[in-house]
Structure formats: structure tokens, C-alpha cells
């Protein structure tokens, strides 16, 4: 199915851009707030201060 050069048309480019935006947003969100964990908090706070929302405040 896939072979050789990537076929491109306007619709494909739009979809690629949308995927790219979602990708960038996800990476940006994780870089800014950290990965979510199953306790509902953010892990950025863990690495910064020593805990996620179940054991430390990530709201302050």
C-alpha cells in the first residue's frame, strides 16, 4: 500500500497539519505541566517539587 514517495494533495496536507498541531500541543502540554498519572495529577510537579497531586500540591 505504501511505497516510494508520499503522495500529497491538499486534503492530505490539511490532515498532516492537524496531526502536527495535535502532536505539538501534546508535547507542549507534557513539557509544561508534566505527564498525567492515574491519580489525576500532573507529574511535572513531582519532578520539580517532589510529588504529584496525590502527594504534593501542583496547584500552587
Amino acid at each position: 500500500m505504501l511505497k516510494g514517495e508520499v503522495e500529497m494533495n491538499v486534503s492530505s496536507l490539511v490532515v498532516l497539519v492537524v496531526i502536527g498541531i495535535f502532536f505539538a500541543l501534546a508535547v507542549w502540554r507534557v513539557a509544561k505541566k508534566g505527564a498525567p498519572c492515574e491519580c489525576g495529577g500532573s507529574r511535572k510537579a513531582c519532578s520539580r517539587k517532589g510529588g504529584c497531586s496525590c502527594c504534593d500540591c501542583c496547584e500552587d
Binding site: M1, V6, S12, A26, E38, G40, S53, D56, E59
Partner: protein
């Protein structure tokens, strides 16, 4: 900008501080009814009061500097100094809680005592005289019920009012009115100490400091820099008291505090006469649930019930997961109660949808088999370049008439779904397909589901349709459907299983059973020189490994704390539950207990690993004491259980979007491009970057039974987040032609091992018990305090996971009649080493 007012929320462990904190601030901090949930201070703005910060402190029993929690609370209360204290006490255990309250009162800060669980107190028929307690402790006393959100805000507003008044009226330099709870000679000594340290400490908390000096608190004495001569004078006073009262200074303070509290309780607490000496319902349940013999089987039974509901065939978890995976997130689903036999004219008339699908699969298999035979025939004697690869539009009827192919169709044993012949040739169903049968088979079109009932298209189908309609190229469509959506959908498909596990755990936590589990485990662990305190982080770890590692902070003994950090993540967390769910669904549908077994293995590793570690000089020592107050059993509220479940589930769903989605996009690229960045055809996947990367390390997994590049890629990608292992397998399977993702994952294991179930079990065990995800590893390194200990933890976890997977596969293969090899010998040797490490005599080291 005006200065904010800081209110410290302080109290004993498990008195309801975090519940009250959440109610006051609108936060969603994790609440557990066992001690040690909060290990660091948390801040939140009081609802409706932008200038008031509520600070939730870890639950402690005293202001002694022993555990990390006590140090955190003490440092904040004494050094940073909040403007006021909201002391939350458990009304059902008020006598014990007041020990800490008397110490808080000595700090000289405005204080409101919120007597929690008043609903239970009232229900029990007990009466507490707030006025008498308020007078004795020189504070305000308010009755509340944090769980029912009653009275908490009133208490908070009262303490805010007091804090504001104190700032205006008193200031920090005025001698406060604090309770005097000790006997004459002790008070006399304390007064002398107060004189000696005047000017060195804030006047408002001078009494607290003086009492600490009396107790010979080294940290305080060092901080106050009391001169040798002065200290000698103070020591004389302390020794006089000790001589008079026949005890050491610290014990005198403790016992006189309790005497004071007892006197206070005699006049302010009236217990219901009818209830006295009568066993409560909780006592009666505990007789059975914490029974020496029945306790552990009951705990294991509860785990079994949870996993039965989550993964047993025809159970709610499996039914909903099948619907999510095959219907809602994939092609679509029939609305319940709307299905019927096909009424449309044609080949499927009168058939049920499943029968129609089966018939089509069989006809399709006939068609493929005949086409394959035809192409083989017309390509006979041709060079590779001249060979025809696709069926020509016009068939040579003379050649066709000579061909009788063998139709092959196999139904998957586990799922009943059709499997293409290349995936399973063990016992294929063979039949002859001649040219006439081929022509007949070619006329069959895929059944239209809308002819068999009300068909709701799934998200996967909607996305594919939308992309088709938009004319998106095959490459981009593959990126979206197989890559991004495929990976995310694989993970989201297990939300029903995760939901059932989380809701079950939330129920057990909220009704008070989990606190009993800690008690039961303490009794068990203590026999092996371990403490139940180490089990609390492991209970938390059922949700997520990160807070589990963090919760080890509550353990004051450094050796025990390090050991707990190493062992805490062996309990399968929420993300690992997805791996269990996928393999239970694909390989162990009828053996649902395999899922429960993973939890039991996790607990067994914790116990056995703990025993082995304790016998080394690095971890030897007595088990630390474990104080645990068992809350009364109560029916959890729907909102409470939902709150717990949703908080965890939300993290899981968010992770699918924020971690799994970008990871799958990257994986799709490395799976569809070679090193020169040429786009590859599906059948050229063996030239891909991912194939090469996986192949380079696949040898490491060879002894474990899944030494393929796919297995290696899935195992390594699991370090991003554990559920990524399932997403990667889904992604790899999406690239294969044929039936379903599930059957291709089954085929994947069948292609690398003669014992695919054992290989799958080995994969599952390996990914569950090797080091956790990257974030948990990072937290482990930090909590261990050094690179050396961090690497030791990771090395130990890797060793355990690898040895376990090796033993499961190699010994399993031996038992299944697969023969004895060098890896079997290594598995036995490593198991013998582990047994030696567990049963050898331990080191006796002074702690």
C-alpha cells in the same frame, strides 16, 4: 497586593484533613483512609476568600522530629509560622487526637479545633462538651463532618476571623494564653527554661520551645545555641523533676499530657452507656476480616472478585471491552435489542450477522486460495521479473479449469474469529475450490451490517470514511488510522477494565477495608522482619507507581524507606492493568485468574524481595513500628467512589492523548520509513527503522520466548508509559493484513514460540515486573537520594522481572514437554540463587 493569610490544617493521620482540604479549597487531592497519604504540605485557596491560603500538613501524632512527615509539619508550624491553625481531630477518637492538639496549643497561635466525624459521634449516641475543651485548650471548638461537607466552612471562617484579629490585636511579640497541663515541678522547670531562652525565640511560642528543651530535643537545643553554663543550670531543673517523678524528662511530658487529657475527657466526653463494652458492627466484621487464618484468603478472594468482574469471559469488563475495541472505537456496533436476521434479498437472507461474517470469511478464504493457486500456475517457468503478482482482469479459462485449490479456514479457539491460513496451520479446515467454486466465492460481498439491525458506526470507521471522502492519500490515512488512532484506540479500548478495577478499589478504600489490608499485611510482613508501613505505598501503587514511591517518605528508617521504594512498584499499577487486560483477553479468556495471579505475584515479590534484601547488610535491621488506626466500616458514598475512580481514570484517558498519541505517531514513522527516509510498502516493514532497532535488542528477549523485533519494540516502548506496550503491539498488528488486531497479536507470539501462551505470559510478567515507566524511575532515583541507590533499585527490578519471565517461560516449556536447554538450566540456577538469597541466614547489623 495585600498579604495572604496562611491557615495550617493540622491533625493526626487519617483524621480527615485532606477531605476537609478538598472541601474548603475545591481541590481534588488524593484521599485515602490509611495513614501516610499526605507526605508533603499542600496549598489551596479557601473558596470565597482569595487572600486565605489553606495549607494541608501531613498527618502526625506529635511534633517530634522523627519521621519526614513530622519534620515537614514541625518545620512549617514552628519556623515558617502560619497565621492560625485549623486543628482537625477525629471525634470518634478524640482522647487520642488531643495529645497532638495540646502540643499545637502550646505554639501560641490562634487555633480552631474542628471535631470531625460528628455525624458518627451523634449516631453512636456520644456527647462531647466543646465548651469545656475550648476552655481547657484556650481555643475555639467546632463540630464538623468533612465527608458530608458539614460545618467545615464555618470552622474555616472562624479561624480566618481569629487570624485576622490576631494580626491586628496581638502581633507576634505578645505572650499568648496557652494551656498549662503539667504538674507543679515540671511547670516550675519550664518557667526557668522560658526565662533562659527569652529573646531567642518568638514570644508567642516560647512555651513550646521550653517544653522541647525540657524534653532534651537535640535539634531545638542546637538551634537555640544555649550556652554551656545556661544548659547546665537548665539540666539541674530537669534532673530534679526526673528524680522527683522517677522517670525521664520526655516520658514525664508524655505521661502528664495524657493525664491532663484524661481529666479533660472525664468531664467533657459522655459515651453512650448502651454502647459501652458492646462490640460494634465494625468489631464484628473485623473478627472475621482480620482473622489470623481467614484474613489473607479474604484479601486474595477480593482481588479475585475484582479481576473476575474485569476480565472473565462474559463478565462486564470483557463484554464492555469487546464492545469498545471492536465496536465503539473500531468499525461499529449494533444497538442492543435491534438486531435481526438479514431481511434483504441476497446471499445472506435469513442469516444472523455473525454467521454472515463467518460465511463471508470462508468464501473469501476460498477465493484467496484459488487465486494463489492460479497465480502460481501462470507464473510457472517465468523469471522473477516476468511473474504476475496480481490477478489479471481476464482469467484464462483453460488454465482455470485445471486448478483445484485447497481452501483453508480456521476459527480462532479463543475468540471464534476467522484467522487467515498463514496465521494458524495447526489443524486447518481444508476443502476443494475449483473454478466454479471460485466464481461463486467471488460473488459474495462483505455483509452490510445495517441489514442486520440498527448499526452505529464506530469512531475508527467514521475517521476512515471521512479521510476517504476527503481524498486523503493512503500514506496519510495509514498515519492517522493505523498510527495515531490505532495506538490511542488500543489503549482506550481497555477503559472498561480499568474502570472496573478502579471503582472496585475505590469502594474497598472508602468502606475502610484497605486500611485492614495494611493491618493484615503488617502482621504477615512482621514475621519476616518487615513493617506494614512499607505496605501503605504499595496500596497506593495500585493506582500509580509515582505516588507510591513518594509515599515511602513516611517511613523514618532510611533502610526501610529505600527498600520500600525498590519494592513499591511491583504491585501492578493502573497502566500495567492494561497489559494484564489485553493479554487476559487475547490469551487467557477462560483463565481469568491469571490476571488476579499477577497481583498475587506482585505481593509475593514484595514479601520475598523484602526478605532477601533484609538479609543484606544494606537493609538489615529491626522492622519499624507501625501505628494504624482502623476506621469504622461505613457504606461509601456514590460521589466519594466516583470521585476516586474518575480522578484516576481521567489521568489514564489524558495519558492516551498526551503520551500514547505522540508516541504512536513517532512509532508509525519509524515503522514506515527506512534509514534513508524512504517510505516503505507494508510488506517491506523488515527494512524499517523500528524493525532494525527492535532486531538489535531482540536477542535479549529470545530466552524469554518473545525474541522478535515486535516484542522487543513493545517492551522498550513500555518505558514511556506501561500501556504503550499494548499500543505498540496494536500498531504493529495494524500493519498486518487479515482478520483482527487481536488475532495478529496472537499470531505474533505463535510465530516466535511453539508455546505462544507461555510466551505471552512471559511478556506480561516481564513488562509488569521490570522497572516501572520513566517518570516513576526518575522519582525512584530522587527518592533514593543518590545515583548509586537509584541504579541499584532499577537493577534489582530488572533482575526480578527478567528472572521471573525466564522462569515462567523456560520452566513452563519444560513442563509442557518442550525439552531442557541451556536457558532452562540458567532459569533453574537463577531461581536457586533467589531461594538462597531468601532463605540464607540474615546479617545482624545495628541500626
Amino acid at each position: 497586593m495585600s498579604k495572604s493569610i496562611k491557615i495550617a490544617l493540622a491533625g493526626n493521620p487519617n483524621s480527615g484533613k485532606t477531605t476537609l482540604f478538598n472541601a474548603l479549597t475545591g481541590s481534588e487531592q488524593y484521599v485515602g483512609n490509611w495513614p501516610g497519604v499526605t507526605v508533603e504540605k499542600k496549598d489551596g485557596i479557601l473558596s470565597g476568600h482569595k487572600d486565605v491560603v489553606i495549607q494541608d500538613l501531613p498527618g502526625i501524632y506529635s511534633l517530634s522530629p522523627y519521621s519526614i512527615e513530622e519534620k515537614v509539619s514541625r518545620r512549617f508550624l514552628v519556623e515558617e509560622g502560619p497565621d492560625a491553625i485549623l486543628n482537625i481531630v477525629d471525634g470518634t477518637n478524640i482522647e487520642r487526637n488531643l495529645y497532638f492538639s495540646t502540643q499545637l496549643a502550646e505554639l501560641g497561635l490562634p487555633m480552631v479545633m474542628a471535631v470531625n466525624m460528628m455525624d458518627v459521634v451523634k449516631k453512636n449516641g456520644d456527647k462531647i462538651d466543646f465548651e469545656k475543651i475550648a476552655k481547657a485548650l484556650r481555643c475555639e471548638v467546632v463540630g464538623i463532618s468533612a465527608l458530608k461537607n458539614e460545618g467545615g466552612m464555618e470552622a474555616a471562617e472562624k479561624v480566618v476571623e481569629m487570624a485576622k484579629k490576631a494580626v491586628v490585636e496581638k502581633g507576634p511579640g505578645k505572650l499568648p494564653d496557652v494551656p498549662h497541663v503539667f504538674s507543679g515541678s515540671v511547670e516550675h522547670a519550664i518557667a526557668h527554661i522560658e526565662e533562659s531562652i527569652q529573646g531567642k525565640v518568638p514570644l508567642r511560642s516560647i512555651r513550646w520551645y521550653a517544653i522541647k528543651v525540657f524534653e532534651r530535643d537535640r535539634e531545638i537545643i542546637k538551634k537555640l545555641e544555649i550556652g554551656v553554663g545556661e544548659m547546665k543550670h537548665i539540666e539541674e531543673h530537669i534532673r530534679d523533676c526526673e528524680k522527683e517523678l522517677g522517670d525521664d524528662a520526655e516520658s514525664i511530658i508524655t505521661s502528664q499530657r495524657y493525664d491532663f487529657i484524661k481529666r479533660l475527657m472525664d468531664k467533657s466526653l459522655a459515651l453512650n452507656e448502651k454502647r459501652k463494652d458492646k462490640a460494634t458492627l465494625s468489631d464484628k466484621i473485623d473478627k472475621f476480616v482480620t482473622h489470623r487464618i481467614f484474613a489473607l484468603p479474604i484479601f486474595i478472594l477480593s482481588l479475585c472478585v475484582m479481576w473476575f468482574l474485569a476480565v472473565a469471559e462474559h463478565g462486564p469488563g470483557t463484554v464492555l471491552t469487546d464492545w469498545a475495541n471492536d465496536g465503539f472505537l473500531a468499525d461499529g456496533w449494533h444497538l442492543p435489542f435491534t438486531t435481526h436476521e438479514c431481511r434483504a434479498e441476497g446471499k445472506y437472507k435469513g442469516m444472523e450477522f455473525e454467521d454472515a461474517q463467518g460465511e463471508f470469511a470462508k468464501q473469501d478464504a476460498s477465493k484467496s486460495a484459488w487465486e494463489e493457486a492460479y497465480l502460481e500456475k501462470i507464473n510457472e517457468g517465468k523469471s522473477d521479473d516476468d511473474k504476475v503478482e496480481e490477478m489479471p482482469e481476464e482469467i484464462d479459462e483453460k488454465v482455470a479449469a485445471t486448478i483445484v485449490a485447497k481452501g483453508v479456514f480456521v476459527e480462532d479457539e479463543e475468540t471464534g474469529e476467522p484467522i487467515a491460513k498463514e496465521d494458524n496451520e495447526d489443524e486447518p479446515d481444508l476443502w476443494d475450490v475449483d473454478f466454479a467454486a471460485y466464481k461463486e466465492a467471488s460473488e459474495w460481498e462483505e455483509p452490510d451490517p445495517s441489514q442486520f439491525g440498527v448499526w452505529v458506526p464506530g469512531l475508527g470507521a467514521l475517521i476512515t470514511d471521512a479521510l476517504d471522502k476527503a481524498g486523503v492519500s493512503d500514506t496519510v490515512k495509514s498515519l492517522v488510522v493505523d498510527g495515531a488512532w490505532g495506538g490511542v484506540a488500543t489503549v482506550l479500548g481497555f477503559v472498561p477494565v480499568i474502570f472496573i478495577v478502579f471503582i472496585f478499589l475505590a469502594f474497598l478504600e472508602d468502606c475502610g477495608y484497605m486500611a485492614r489490608v495494611a493491618f493484615i499485611m503488617d502482621r504477615l510482613l512482621r514475621r519476616f522482619g518487615l513493617s506494614g508501613k512499607s505496605f501503605i505505598p504499595m496500596l497506593i501503587g495500585k493506582g500509580c507507581g509515582v505516588p507510591a514511591v513518594m509515599a515511602a517518605r513516611a517511613i523514618e528508617n532510611e533502610r526501610a524507606r529505600r527498600m520500600t521504594v525498590i519494592l513499591a512498584t511491583f504491585v501492578p499499577c493502573g497502566a500495567k492493568t492494561v497489559i494484564i487486560a489485553m493479554f487476559a483477553a487475547l490469551f487467557f479468556r477462560e483463565q481469568w485468574y491469571v490476571a488476579a495471579l499477577m497481583d498475587v505475584i506482585g505481593i509475593a515479590i514484595i514479601i520475598l524481595g523484602g526478605i532477601a534484601l533484609k538479609k543484606t547488610r544494606f537493609f538489615a535491621g529491626e522492622a519499624s513500628s507501625f501505628v494504624l488506626e482502623l476506621p469504622a466500616y461505613h457504606m461509601p458514598t456514590v460521589s466519594g467512589v466516583w470521585h476516586h475512580t474518575w480522578n484516576r481514570l481521567k489521568g489514564y484517558v489524558l495519558k492516551a492523548g498526551l503520551i500514547i498519541f505522540p508516541a504512536c505517531v513517532v512509532l508509525w514513522f519509524v515503522m514506515h520509513f527506512d534509514w534513508s527516509l524512504n517510505l516503505l510498502a507494508d510488506e517491506e516493514i523488515e527494512k524499517s527503522i523500528l524493525h532494525d532497532l527492535g532486531s538489535w535488542i531482540a536477542w535479549m528477549f529470545e530466552p524469554l520466548g518473545f525474541g522478535s523485533w515486535q516484542g522487543a519494540a513493545a517492551s522498550v516502548s513500555a518505558e514511556i508509559a506501561k500501556e504503550q506496550a499494548t499500543a505498540t503491539l496494536g500498531l504493529v498488528a495494524a500493519n498486518m493484513d487479515g482478520a483482527t488486531t487481536g488475532s495478529h497479536i496472537q499470531a505474533l507470539f505463535a510465530s516466535v514460540s511453539d508455546f505462544p501462551k507461555l510466551a505471552a505470559l512471559s511478556f506480561m510478567v516481564f513488562n509488569l515486573f521490570v522497572p516501572p515507566c520513566m517518570v516513576a524511575i526518575a522519582v525512584t532515583f530522587r527518592e533514593m537520594g543518590s545515583q548509586k541507590w537509584g541504579w541499584f533499585a532499577v537493577g534489582f527490578q530488572l533482575f526480578v522481572g527478567y528472572v521471573l519471565a525466564l522462569s515462567v517461560y523456560r520452566i513452563g516449556v519444560l513442563v509442557a514437554g518442550g525439552g531442557f536447554g541451556i536457558w532452562t538450566a540458567l532459569a533453574f540456577a537463577l531461581d536457586a540463587f533467589c531461594l538462597w538469597a531468601i532463605f540464607r541466614p540474615g546479617k545482624k547489623v545495628e541500626c
